[in-house]
């Protein structure tokens, strides 16, 4: 005889439940958007590309091109970028610590990688890289990251403010989840934007309050527009709680000017908004006239302390010069959140126990790479500079090539890993796309793929002014392949325009 049972009858903190009830709202329709959005960079066109790749392998003669040129996703090592040796040495030693006791290791590994691995292992309780860690991540690794942030910003950082995550995305989801209580809660987001934000806001049942990057001024961010959008949202009863800034920009590739960063910090302080700063491309700046400065540094430089501004900074091991996407590492730094809110973030982090330890270690390494005098420093800095200067050249070459195409304009490639050129599609092409039941930019991208093997993502996946069309192109194909991308694209574009020109 089966008796009645109580499931989940544990005795959680009533405070916790009240908080979560107030702060969490999940909605069915929104999940659809997650799928759609993320789908864009790994979606239909990419699946078609993979299919074509198989066909080429089976029958090379049947296709007009020999290989697929993937420009769809920020996945540098898939296109041949090599990892930083020092980082991989440390990971290998942490994976197999008994190497540290062997004499051969001295000749196989750099001295500083051996020292670093030993230090990291000492920081991990029981030197157990195979154990679940503290839900925020290993404390010693957070100490290192905090020190790295201090060195970058020249302002203090607290390891208790760091939450290590499997890449930046789970951190973004966590913060959006905490900020949104109902559909009346809004978050200001740039348009165009990386679709993670729109998806996450929708998933948690909130309202995206768009602000517009101005293509005409190099995807500039106008604080006057921010204010206007905020007022409009307020007038509709929306409680705007936070502002998302992606700097350097994705998909737009701009780097915010100093004055602009200050205006944004001031705006958030005055309006009491949480500033969600997506700073995952902090190492990816390609023009001498622009520098990356974190919003924490900017706000502290303005004299804003812990009490003045709620600030979250997201960082990832997948981008920068390291591009370690497969390792799934990242963190967020949260400042000016009280012990109560921090406790709730901790609870959310605990649901998944912890992020993977290799990703945690790598996050500590990218925030504390070799220093002058370390054995690895020269090879590390040469590789880093080589990758970044090559990316800068590729960005410039592609930018110039886009600007030479009929009806295409492309803003300056200042940072990140993308260009977001605008294409003025002929009416005839738009009509053909309509008949093919697809967006006009997707129509262009599909034709580009099947005729040249080049993979772009349609701009409609990121948001754009209606009636304008864009695509996102990464700058990641190896440098020697860029001329092929340019030639094929240029030839295709001419044929396409000849076919559809009004």
């Amino acid at each position: 005889m089966a008796p009645p049972v109580t499931v989940n009858s544990i005795n959680p903190s009533t405070e916790l439940i009240a908080f979560l009830c107030a702060h969490i709202n999940l909605r069915i329709l929104s999940f659809r958007q997650v799928i759609e959005c993320e789908y864009a960079v790994r979606g239909e066109i990419v699946i078609l590309a993979q299919k074509l790749q198989e066909e080429i392998k089976a029958n090379p003669a049947a296709h007009p091109f020999e290989e697929i040129l993937y420009c769809n996703i920020g996945n540098p090592q898939s296109l041949g970028q090599q990892p930083i040796t020092f980082f991989r040495e440390v990971l290998a030693l942490c994976d197999h610590p008994s190497l540290l006791d062997k004499s051969e290791t001295q000749s196989l590994f750099s001295t500083d990688s051996i020292q670093r691995a030993s230090k990291i292992l000492d920081q991990i309780p029981g030197r157990a890289t195979g154990a679940y860690s503290h839900s925020q991540g290993v404390k010693g690794l957070r100490d290192t990251i905090a020190a790295g942030i201090e060195a970058r910003d020249s302002f203090p950082a607290d390891p208790n403010d760091i939450f290590l995550t499997d890449g930046a995305s789970p951190a973004v989801h966590m913060m959006i989840q905490l900020l949104i209580r109902s559909e009346n809660d809004g978050i200001l987001c740039p348009i165009p934007q990386y679709p993670l934000y729109s998806a996450s806001i929708a998933l948690h049942g909130g309202t995206l309050v768009p602000y517009y990057l101005d293509e005409a001024t190099g995807w500039g961010l106008e604080v006057s527009d921010l204010k206007k959008q905020l007022e409009t949202a307020k007038s509709k009863g929306i409680d705007v709680r936070a502002l998302v800034v992606i700097n350097p920009g994705n998909p737009t590739g701009q780097v915010l000017a100093e004055e602009n960063r200050k205006e944004i910090a001031k705006f958030c302080k005055e309006e009491g908004l949480v500033l969600l700063a997506d700073e995952v491309y902090q190492e990816n700046v390609y023009v001498p006239e622009k520098k990356f400065h974190s919003f924490k540094k900017v706000s502290r430089s303005m004299g804003y302390g812990e009490k003045d501004i709620h600030l979250v900074s997201f960082q990832s091991v997948s981008k920068g010069y390291y591009g370690e996407c497969g390792k799934r590492g990242g963190y967020m730094e949260i400042t000016r959140f009280g012990a109560d809110v921090r406790e709730h973030i901790y609870k959310l982090a605990s649901v998944n126990l912890c992020s993977n330890i290799s990703g945690q270690i790598l996050a500590s390494l990218v925030m504390s790479p070799p220093k002058v005098g370390d054995e690895s420093y020269e090879s590390y800095s040469a590789k880093r500079d080589g990758i970044l200067s090559s990316l800068a050249r590729r960005a410039k070459t592609l930018e110039d090539a886009f600007n030479k195409l009929e009806g295409v304009t492309c803003n300056k490639a200042e940072g990140a890993m993308y260009l977001f050129p605008r294409i003025n599609l002929p009416e005839k092409a738009i009509k053909a796309a309509g008949e093919a039941r697809t967006a006009a930019d997707a129509f262009y991208c599909r034709r580009l793929l099947t005729e040249t093997g080049i993979v772009f993502v349609p701009g409609s996946g990121f948001g754009q002014v209606p009636g304008t069309w864009h695509f996102r192109c990464t700058i990641l194909p190896q440098e020697y392949k860029i001329p092929a991308v340019v030639t094929r694209l240029t030839d295709f574009h001419k044929r396409f325009m000849d076919e559809f020109r009004d």
Copy 2:
């Protein structure tokens, strides 16, 4: 002037949207349950334990015990279990592939680890362990896992049926998400159960249909009870879609008998239920009279083919003799799902791009460990057998100790990593717990912690017959510490009963 914009206006497959609308349902209240449930194994009592640990460090003399004895979570390496050398050698070589070109590597690494790492790197496109992989996981690694499943079961396995995930939990969430369309969809789950299932069902807006493991017959699973619960659910208008079986059991530690496994497969076939088989403890069997057989092997042995039964098997690198929790690796094998459903699972997997590559590699290694004749085989098998036989002894010692305590009964420890003893708490203790506004089993566990340093999880976190009280105790403290656990527990229990005995 900011124009109106379209966000997320890409053109997804309408089929996909229709499917997702039909199959996905997220609800607010349910998320609360996730937090509550997962909270149990990492919750209030664990936070108190960590606090006590800090206090002991600062002032050892002020506490009646020298260290905290963590028996709350299946995290073997945190308690000193060493990883399998071969696995870590391969991971290190894959993290730093240039080691393969060095002569010193021959003397530092086993021959078979070098061969395996070379093979794995050849299977990864571009040998890029730092790149995002295919959303299902690296194809070559799935080939290896499928071969491992074939070797285990003596029935064919298809790499296209494998989805690699960051541990087993994301795979469970994915399947529950696909199965639940509304609150009228039900899933049969054991009680007591690992709270992941109740949480995931609630999260996705479905109904948990409980079936009862019978404590009196060693946590046996009665198919007559399954049928009864199914009929009851049907009479309430619930469309029961799947059955969860955890074998070996968590938190209950039983291993299903052969006849019982067959009855379950037959029941699922006849009732058209998806069988969700949590088989993450497949290596953890401690009694000679019981063997693990996968439900795939069981059903194929009964003559059931692909067309007869929908089957999902979950596996993880966190359990077994390997216990690699920090690596976050796992997979699910799905059989008898059409191309359409498989495509939708692929879409869900794509949202997170891919699981971490080290976890993927490790999942391939645990399903294809060294074989007789390989250089590592002897040390590997000695370590494996040593760990498993030690776990068996620890389980037996703890089981015997529990059964000697006044008012406590404990079923045989057949498998997994847990015991789930029942404690007959005196009325006076239950009253004291009520006054302290806590569940009676949590009251006991808290007292146990503060007086002895031993950390158990209250049974109420897993579901139990109302009025009965249990706790979950892992068998993972190192073997030399088990006598201390037994002594401290026994002494505490006597004092507790002396204080509260009716």
